[in-house]
């Protein structure tokens, strides 16, 4: 990201100077202004969703889901490491509910617990990267705030595409990574 930033910044600046150097600062400030507006909407979105997610977590939704997922994860990740499987299940349940923060922590400790089980690690990484989520709350709320008349219209495309990407990822890991 650092290299990308410098490259794009330098090339764009050169072109702006060639066209009209006085446009340089207004362009930067407009970008920062957009960032402020976006962050304000995000603040509202997160305040609503993180509130509900906390309620769900306190009600034990996350715990129940991860328990229900245990048999499935055992088969998918080919490991008998129960501690790691527990962390994996928490991670997957949190990801499905859109709790990125809770997911990452459990994901990292799962990776650590799977220290020598390379296949399981790689499968877990790829499954995580599919980003499957029941309800992409951030994006739906952002759409509603941007004045969308049908904020839920991206729900189905996103869900189907993530499912496809998950299936493709699992298939590729099975084909190309040794157990």
């Amino acid at each position: 990201m650092n290299v990308l930033f410098v490259c794009i910044f330098a090339i764009s600046s050169a072109l702006v100077v060639l066209r009209d150097a006085s446009a340089f600062l207004p362009a930067l400030l407009e970008g920062a202004g957009n960032a402020v507006t976006l962050c304000l909407s995000l603040l509202a979105v997160y305040a609503v969703w993180m509130g509900f997610l906390q309620v769900a977590q306190d009600a034990g939704v996350l715990r129940g889901m991860s328990r229900a997922m245990l048999p499935l994860t055992r088969r998918l990740f080919h490991t008998q490491n129960t501690q790691a499987l527990e962390q994996i299940s928490v991670n997957l349940a949190a990801n499905l509910c859109g709790m990125g923060g809770a997911a990452t922590g459990a994901g990292i400790s799962a990776m650590r617990l799977l220290d020598r089980e390379r296949y399981s690690q790689e499968m877990f990484f790829v499954v995580n990267c599919a980003g499957l989520q029941f309800f992409p709350s951030t994006i739906i709320s952002l759409r509603a705030q941007a004045g969308s008349l049908r904020p839920l219209s991206v729900l189905l495309p996103a869900l189907l595409a993530s499912l496809f990407s998950l299936a493709l990822g699992i298939l590729l890991v099975r084909l190309f990574c040794r157990r």
């Binding site: 009600a59 994901g107 995580n128 990267c129 219209s153 496809f164 590729l172």
Partner: protein
């Protein structure tokens, strides 16, 4: 479809109170986490959008879009969504920033706006996650697999946005 959300939320709150969760306090605790989170995101969103503003002003953005239009429209991804597909593996907050911009520029219900939202909602920040998970011991194969399946998901998401 629109009644689904209120229904689910009410079920959640009732179930939680049935389980003796102090719903009001719990909600407040969760909502309180929003401010620090946005505080953490803001620097990166600002950096990306400042860059995007400059990129736009340089004319590079429209030139690139025009140049890549045939290739990407053949694949079914509208050209303005291209930067999002490229930034996505590196930065979650950066891609969120781009989604916000595309939605306000083209409208959230336009084909481009919907594609951007669907692309954002599929896939993950592959490079960021690999740095976290494989902590230094970089592995090429799973990263390539994840990138391939994310790109496939982006293509499929745009296609589905057209027909659904």
């Amino acid at each position: 479809m629109n009644a689904l959300l209120p229904f689910l939320v009410v079920i959640l709150l009732l179930a939680a109170s049935f389980r003796k969760v102090r719903v009001y306090d719990s909600f407040a605790k969760g909502a309180g986490g929003a401010l620090p989170l946005v505080g953490k995101l803001f620097p990166y969103i600002a950096a990306v959008l400042v860059l995007a503003g400059l990129f736009e002003a340089s004319g590079l953005s429209s030139a690139l879009c025009k140049a890549l239009e045939p290739l990407f429209s053949a694949l079914g991804i509208p050209a303005p969504v291209l930067p999002l597909v490229l930034v996505k593996p590196f930065s979650g907050s950066g891609s969120l920033a781009l989604v916000g911009q595309l939605c306000s520029q083209y409208g959230a219900d336009s084909y481009i706006g919907r594609c951007a939202c669907a692309v954002y909602a599929t896939g993950e920040t592959v490079f960021y996650l690999s740095a976290l998970y494989f902590a230094g011991g970089g592995r090429a194969r799973p990263v390539v697999i994840a990138l391939v399946s994310n790109l496939a998901a982006a293509l499929l998401a745009c296609l589905l946005c057209r027909i659904l």
